[in-house]
């Protein structure tokens, strides 16, 4: 065995030009695949994080069925046990309760349909980025609970301005008609017509009163430190969810809540898969070419070895080890280069110039390119290239295993 290794190693250096060519092909592939995957993962993660931290949270606790049919009456109360479990989990950065309802907002002779979100500003502003979307005025606070913040389109459609008093009309939890006066304290802009024309944020205490919720809420958004922790947190909260089974609660990760975003990302991953596929093919043929060349070049030598009594499988394994060594060396350098490039982008995200801004915003993406140094990327790339190397080795190995002494020696 050791001898085979030695033969393989020597063979690599016997024709170093050919070896370097193979290594370069592998380096090229490893570098581009890691860079591409890094950018893909980094950019998606950043966009997902950005979207989730805006409002939704990484996960939500809701009543079962609320996601498909979000009615006010699918509500529950947050008790001390729940509060304690959520606060005690170190992977959870924070959480915020919400009341969501549909109603009507009226100012003078205008009235519009409104999606009402009752939020706890002290929690919401701490964990989500919602405050960053405020364009004018002030956000909600605990001192003035009858303040509301509405979208820039809504305030325009109402013909109101900051400081004006509006009336909000809803159907409360008990079926009664809830109506109350509120003062517009701020204007936000998300950039989505639907959100900016429909959404009203109010203090959770005000929503509780308006909607006669009796301290019940509709959802709890959980904000985690890391998006990768979702499955673990889900597992850790299983016990709590089981205890609360009588309330009919479920814990949903973001991809069950923002189905559209998940689909957009899946589509993009599929399209990138084709690019990787093309790259892999180029590299695959490169490796095949060099390996095949190096074998046919040495047929005479192999023929002599067979004549002297070397078994074909020993030759096959020697050449296999040779190929693997070349691949490994290529991978090491390729990874190093890929890591370097990814590290550079992680530290210096690329901000796309103005023309892209609108296009990206329309798709709900930030016009920025980020990268990632996650180990998945390197494992993924390594596996792909190793598989390619093994697959392209099949044909040369077949030729080698069928080689006879005479044929080899006479081969020109």
């Amino acid at each position: 065995m050791f001898l085979i290794l030695k033969i393989a190693w020597r063979n690599i250096w016997r024709n170093w030009r050919r070896s370097i060519l193979t290594i370069l092909a592998v380096i090229f592939a490893a570098f581009f695949i890691t860079l591409m995957k890094g950018i893909q993962k980094g950019t998606f993660d950043m966009n997902i994080k950005n979207t989730l931290e805006l409002f939704t949270g990484y996960m939500q606790i809701q009543k079962d069925g609320y996601q498909d049919n979000p009615t006010l009456n699918k509500a529950f109360s947050m008790d001390l046990e729940m509060l304690g479990t959520l606060q005690g989990n170190s992977k959870i950065k924070g959480f915020s309760p919400k009341i969501t309802a549909f109603g009507l907002i009226g100012y003078e002779n205008n009235s519009l349909g409104a999606a009402i979100f009752g939020i706890d500003p002290s929690r919401e502003l701490l964990y989500s980025n919602i405050g960053s979307r405020l364009r004018k005025g002030t956000f909600l606070n605990d001192a003035n609970i009858n303040d509301i913040v509405i979208g820039d389109r809504m305030i325009k459609n109402l013909g109101a301005s900051i400081g004006d008093t509006v009336v909000i009309l809803t159907q409360a939890f008990d079926g009664s008609t809830g109506n109350q006066k509120f003062v517009i304290s701020g204007i936000f802009k998300f950039g989505s017509n639907e959100l900016d024309g429909m959404t009203v944020f109010m203090h959770i205490s005000a929503a509780n009163e308006l909607l006669a919720m009796n301290n019940k809420i509709n959802t709890i958004s959980l904000f985690l430190h890391k998006i990768e922790d979702i499955p673990e947190v889900k597992k850790e909260l299983d016990e709590l969810m089981e205890k609360k089974a009588h309330l009919g609660l479920v814990l949903l990760p973001w991809d069950d809540i923002l189905v559209d975003l998940k689909q957009t990302i899946d589509m993009k991953i599929i399209s990138e898969f084709f690019y990787v596929g093309i790259l892999v093919m180029i590299v695959g043929f490169g490796i095949l070419n060099t390996v095949l060349m190096s074998i046919t070049e040495r047929f005479r030598e192999f023929g002599v070895m067979i004549a002297l009594g070397t078994k074909n499988y020993i030759l096959v394994s020697a050449v296999f080890i040779e190929t693997m060594m070349l691949t490994a060396i290529g991978l090491i350098f390729g990874f190093a280069a890929g890591y370097g490039a990814n590290l550079y982008i992680v530290n210096n995200p690329i901000i796309l110039p103005g023309a892209f801004t609108e296009l990206y915003q329309e798709l709900g993406f930030l016009p920025e390119i980020h990268s990632s140094l996650s180990s998945d990327i390197f494992i993924y790339t390594g596996i792909i290239i190793l598989v390619v190397a093994v697959v392209v080795f099949i044909y040369p190995a077949y030729r080698l295993s069928k080689l006879t002494a005479l044929k080899g020696i006479r081969y020109t």
């Binding site: 009336v167 939890f173 009664s176 008609t177």
Partner: protein
Amino acid sequence: MKSILLSSIIFMSSVMAMSAADVYEILKQAENKFKGETSQGKFTMIVTTPDYTRTLKMESYNKGNDKALVIITSPAKEAGNKTLKIGKELWTYLRSTETTMKLPPSMMLQSWNGSDLTNDDLVRESSLYDDYDLKYLFDEKIGTELCWKIELKPKPDAPVVWGRIYYWVRQSDFNPALVQYYEENGELIRSMKFGEIKNIDGRMIPSKWIITNEKKKGHKTEFIYDDVKLDKAIPDRIFSFRELEK
């Protein structure tokens, strides 16, 4: 064999006997019986859902299909809230905030005061015998009462929401017994049952309607007439904004 032939002849002749004009007349009678040209009165609305049951007392004024005013009189929290309908538009007056709001189109499919009627239902109280093609199907008993079962299919350009309606009219007194509303795809959405025929203001009309929401389990709304006066002159000023905010 003979008896089958005989019964089918009887069946055929009974269908023949019911001309289109007859069906139209039956439905018109049933519809106008309890609506009158004008009506005013007091009624109780009981809304039952799996989460709560609530009872509202109201006063209403109706003039034709175009004008209506409903004032909530109890419970105290909502007393004084009013709904005004003029033509195809609805306004709500809220007593606690002293505001009048016009309901925008986006709110039309929302429930009216938590009931199983939508705002749209109030506005779109179309005359069934004008917007639908009528067809007598057969006689059927609803409870103990023999009824004509009539099928209503919307006329091609009629501005209606239902795909099909079945309407049972009592043969004894031309009162409606049951109405079932179906969606375009044939799904039963809601049914409205009429009961407790009473002498109200000199007419024998149903004093209780029960609307069952067939899509939402356990949701129903009952309307009970406590006191109704039909075909009495109602001044037009009742249906004005000034009156609304009084």
